[in-house]
Amino acid sequence: MSETTSTPQVGAAGMVSDRDPTDAPVMIHLDGVEKVYTPGAAPAVEKLTLDVHKGEILVLVGPSGCGKSTTLRLINRMIEPTAGRIIFDDEDVTDIDANELRRRIGYVIQRIGLFPHQTIAENIGTVPRLLGWDAERTRKRSDELLDLVGLEPGIYRDRYPKELSGGQAQRVGVARALAADPPVMLMDEPFGAVDPITRDRLQNEFLRLQAEVQKTIVFVTHDIDEAVKMGDRIAILRERSVVAQLDTPARILSYPVDDFVDDFIGSGSTLKGLHFERVSGLAIPEYPVVRRDTPREEARRILDMSDFRWLLMLDERGRPARWLNETHLADTSRPLHEVGPVVRAVVERNATLHDALEAMITSSAGQAVIVHRDGTYVGVVQIELLTEVIGRMRREARKHYEDLEATQTTDTP
């Protein structure tokens, strides 16, 4: 890790969000939606009732064959439900013309399905053409969208899909889904077919894009890490698309409601949970600091008086410079500002606790220094502080579910 500041993993639409997605009005309401393929047999999707709120990314995640893709395809009626209603922005769309409905919903699938015989611009213009836009408006819109997904229109507009890399094709797929500015997007493992590095970049880009366009998104994945990263809320589905737990990623990670969810989110959920707290939210205790010009005896006195094993030396501009311990103070062969390990593990105040933990692990003093944006010293985080936060997150999540249960019991006499 370099001396430069570590930034949070995700940009504008980051994982840390204080906004409660369920505050927004309901955009898609599934009311007891069911799909039975063979009458008498077990349904593929069993009486599912689910709200998707305006502007949120709701991730449907679950093991293979749990019916998450089927559920997604029930929303735009690529699969017709055998029971239940689909309410779309207060309009019952269960029986309207399916093609008309689909033109109002962006749809991105894993293998993208770009039309190989059409240029990128023509691909993006598919829905606008279906809606009868004129050529000029369609052309402008596809240029605008190429810009939005980070592809230079002048270069890519007239290319054919096979000239694109997987990541570029995926961006075009997203642009095509956004073409007619649909309020809702359905995404079926959209980043499943690209390599991990490209996937990570596409995910970040998409979150940034979403912060801009604020669509209501239902996102299917089998990858809990992707779900945690992308979702404002996550619905963990078990067989037949039964919702095992539906909540924010932070709460699911802190408090899996049952063994199924616990197994599914797997080991390391506590670590993943650290993505959802920022360093700025911590109460940081006093830490012993010395200046570059602090005399040795003074430094020793400060260390002796503190409860810590390390002193932090700041440089003349107030930025963390070196760690000093007993041994370094005893080493009189060199001036104090030349002994002790150089501080490398620094994180900015808006970094997540996950970043802070990573910094701690790499630090020679086992602790991470928090700095302002300009690199000046704020405080020091230690592992004990993280343990406390984890405990607090768990308590809060448990309390949330206990309160929920309490209201439900009082609601139903």
Binding site: N76, M78, A98, N99, E100, L101, R102, R103, R104, Y107, I109, R111, I112, G113, L114, F115, P116, H117, Q118, T119, T126, V127, L130, I155, R159, Y160, P161, K162, E163, S165, Q168, R176, A177
Partner: protein, 274 residues
Amino acid sequence: MSAPTATTTVRRFDPRAELGLIVTPVVLGAVFLAYWGWLGGQDLSSQAESALTTTNLVRQTGEQLSITALSTIGVLLIAIPLGIALTRPRGKRFAGPALAVANAGQAVPAYGLLVLMLAILGGVFGRANDNILQNTLGVWLGPGLVITVISLILFAILPVLRNTMVGLTQVDQDVIEAGLGMGMTRREVLLRIELPLAVPVMLAGVRTALVINVGMATLAFLIGGGGLGVTIRSGIQLSQNLVVLTGGVLTALLALGIDWIGGVAERLLRPKGI
């Protein structure tokens, strides 16, 4: 990013294929002229002279070409809609039987098929003059030619039918899913996505049908359908080898020329990007 190489990959420029398309007609023309010049230098018998008049040969070539064109058009009109129908969800279960029938059509020996068709259809064109087919197509083209064309349609339907079906079924399901998912109707998906993507495979079938038809048209003389087969038969009957040879060379050049046209069509009609 592969910006500079992009445009060249689209056209899939294959110098040898391009060269073939230019060289073929030149070679065919040269062979024709060389043969014609050589034939002029030969000492022809009077029988050969009368069989090889320019008028005869031009007429027979014309007949050969009309048989080819008409039967190929017939094949397209039947095989493509049928192929589409047999790949739709409702038609799929008939695909097997339909292919079996088309296979049988091609498996019957050509001569047999022609004679069979003459036996079946001959009555229609031979006797009743009040018959509508006889009064229209029959008068216009001659009954032999009509029967030949019908036989050739049966004979050449298989490659087009099969390739239409293969071309349509091999279209990436994800592409179709994407089209439907964006609100295209089934019909729009067929016309704007499936058919354009199936075109290369379909064209290969059409080219095969063309070549079958132009070759088989040589047998039309058997049932009075005309064509260059007439010259070949005269040569055989009169034991005039030069006449047989001339008929054979013209037939071969015609077939190669038609195949070349098929190749050009494949090249020009293939959608860009695939």
